[in-house]
Symmetry: C2
Subunit: 438 residues, 2 copies
């Protein structure tokens, strides 16, 4: 077996983590793998600042194309993120016969088919375990260990920033979203521009990748119904609590015969559900396979060493397949292009679930009956109703939990409710994952 | 890519599950894998009784040697368990160039080196994901996805029967071990002869396999300190509860520099620890990797479909590597013989942990001070002491929780305590996993 040389593009947080692991855990890696892995080249626009890891300065270059064309390099690790120049570099690496490892969920979610087809055509592999749930080996588990299963249900917390914010709102009654976001930014758990995380875009990219591996359905993120957590109100967090729920930003994939219901939104989850206990920056994936039943995977979904651990896992697999001389001869198990679709994506209007509705209504006789009447007309039956406070003249919040209802019906009903004279504004709508309400 | 033919030896519960999955999920398997998998032969001593799955009778044989020598079969699935004839059949399969998938933890724990070396020599692979934690893809995760990590700590619930019994004892105050065992037997969760499970032998086999994959330490199960749950007393379950602990049968692997502390025994675990919530027949693995931090894997550790799911996962990997024509050319990642040992196993007398001690002492002045004195002489300091009831003349239970102490010191101290006139019998000793006590 020969030595395997890797080239790193992007010497940021995760890149430095990769260098750190290759250095600190060289002995275990060699003991376990039997193939020496050598870091041959590191490309970054900034090759001056100190990343806190020891690096031979002669490895550094500002020219990433040098790395993807270096004939001595067999595995390219792309960690710059974003669409360009990441995509061009990856495609050029393929053309040069290199295998690629990436954590770039945005690129793969938006341009996956193009990238995977190019890899297949070039006869090389691409690893992307680090793109979903950081150090948790969930993609490998879904496509290898659990390959025998139809995935009936997947519920997943895939963004640590959002989970940190929701956990803090849950544990500090009355605190606003904005206050917690500010704290998360101070602690380094949220970016200065937090939109990618809090608007659910990052989670949606990951959802799209999981959907392609579990159901063979390849759709762009814009086909998925996505709601972020920006509008979560402390009142709803407190009400959820009263009903023994926690609010989590969940990626949801449910199989319903040949149809698949895939969506991402804040969700009320019973507080004794295994995912309800996944707190802070942790990620968790709860799934039901038709053969294995319920499983939970839990761990750090982001961060330098955790994400770098997933990158190294893929690099080692690549290194070994390079050493075996087998790279790319057969598309690796579970690669999107080798999976046939096993279902059709449902439109959000077709989904059936339980709902939490909050309206602001004048506390006058007959209002509740009008609202309940509209819901009833649209086949929405109620599990519980709670009116929080009685103040003679002001509008008071009223919360409804529904039995199973169809999204299209619910939206029409809510539209009608919002037009009632005694109701202020549009209802707040949150979805619930709780089979006991059905 | 060609069709891959498999031969099944052992048509019991899990074997029938394998047949069921190949039949029921044929479409997803083909969509994901691209290699048709055909069941060509099934061997069992009993080929008459109905297993509830459809099988062409011409596949059945009572002669397992026919299966391992069939030139058309490329993957042999061994599910008869035990040492012989399982070992001879597996070795013969290797000699005939076949890859092997097995769930046989006893065989691999006791004769792993011989079996793995034979596979390596024959240039074939052996898969055994199903041997540990049923359908949870933990072995693959440890040796592939988490390959970049040193495993500082692994705590695992690996036996569903024991966990069912301990969960039932915890939720039914005062119920005895024997009563719960009987109930577990009635429900089919415990064997008529339950010794393998309740004496910790099954868990110890699994522990030995995990230890070889995570630390490269290959030792026979008898080198490991093993205590089962047969002597768990409802009084200790209740006391644990009072201290906010749950008693779980844990496989524990801790790295301490170059030494490794590996043992299996009932353990007091804080009730908010993720593993304390793994109840009933479920298994759970909690680990700390130096790069990924804490992770939890949770799921069904036994049962027909769940174990069969793990078998099929390995079969598919074998099928694909057979289709690639690469089987056995390089020992698969993380195979025990390719891992160098990264530490030395500690003797149980050298371990340092926290202890729960219960003695039965006459309620006379000075007894407690004598006991505490002996503990102090042996460098064992106390975190808490609880004397349960005051009855003038009878012996009363007294419970001590200790700070970190060395096992050798504790055993000597307990030996001295048991010889005190005012103490009845030997102390009950349970170990605690709770860093807040240190």
């Amino acid at each position: 077996m020969k030595e395997v040389s890797i080239g790193l593009i992007g010497f940021g947080t995760v890149g430095a983590g990769v260098v750190q692991i290759l250095e600190e855990n060289r002995d275990v890696l060699e003991a376990r793998v039997g193939v020496p892995v050598r870091l041959k080249r590191i490309a970054d626009l900034n090759i001056e600042s100190d990343r806190g890891v020891k690096v031979d300065r002669s490895l550094l270059t500002t020219n990433a194309m040098e790395v993807v064309r270096d004939p001595e390099i067999s595995v390219v690790v792309e960690l710059i993120g974003g669409y360009e120049p990441a995509k061009s570099l990856i495609l050029e690496a393929f053309k040069n016969g290199k295998q690629v490892v990436t954590a770039n969920k945005a690129l793969l979610a938006e341009h996956g088919p193009e990238v995977f087809q190019a890899a297949h055509k070039a006869g090389v592999d691409i690893g992307f375990e680090a793109a979903v749930a950081g150090g948790i080996p969930i993609l490998r588990s879904l496509r290898e260990g659990l390959v025998a299963n139809r995935f009936d249900k997947i519920l997943a917390i895939l963004n640590g920033t959002c989970n940190f914010i929701l956990t803090a709102m849950d544990s500090t009654p009355g605190v606003s979203f904005d206050e917690v976001l500010k704290k998360a930014q101070e602690l380094g758990y949220a970016e200065a521009d937090p939109a990618l995380d809090i608007d659910g875009i990052d989670s949606a990219h990951k959802l799209v990748l999981v959907l392609s591996l579990t159901h063979g359905i390849r759709v762009p993120p814009r086909s998925i119904h996505v709601e972020g957590i920006r509008n979560i109100d402390p009142f709803d967090v407190a009400m959820a609590h009263e009903f023994s729920y926690k609010i989590k930003l969940l990626a949801i994939i449910r199989r319903d015969g040949d149809n698949v219901d895939a969506r991402l939104h804040p969700t009320l989850l019973p507080e004794d559900h295994p995912l309800a206990r996944v707190d802070g920056v942790f990620n968790g994936i709860f799934l039901h396979g038709d053969m294995v039943g319920d499983q939970l995977f839990y761990g750090r979904g982001a961060g330098r060493e955790s994400t770098a651990s997933a990158v190294i896992g893929d690099v080692i697999e690549m290194a070994r397949s390079a050493a075996r001389g087998e790279a790319g001869r057969v598309p690796p198990l579970g690669y999107p292009e080798s999976w046939k679709a096993s279902g059709k994506l449902k439109n959000i209007s077709e989904i059936v679930t339980n709902y939490y509705l909050r309206i602001k209504a004048m506390d006058r006789p007959g209002v509740l009956s009008k609202v309940a009447g509209i819901l009833g007309e649209h086949q929405i039956s109620l599990h519980s109703v709670v009116q929080k406070s009685r103040q003679s003249s002001a509008a008071v919040p009223v919360v409804f939990l529904t039995h199973l209802a169809k999204e299209a019906d619910l939206q029409i009903a809510c539209e009608k409710i919002s037009r009632l004279d005694d109701v202020e504004g549009a209802p707040v709508i949150l979805r619930i994952e709780d089979e006991t309400l059905n």
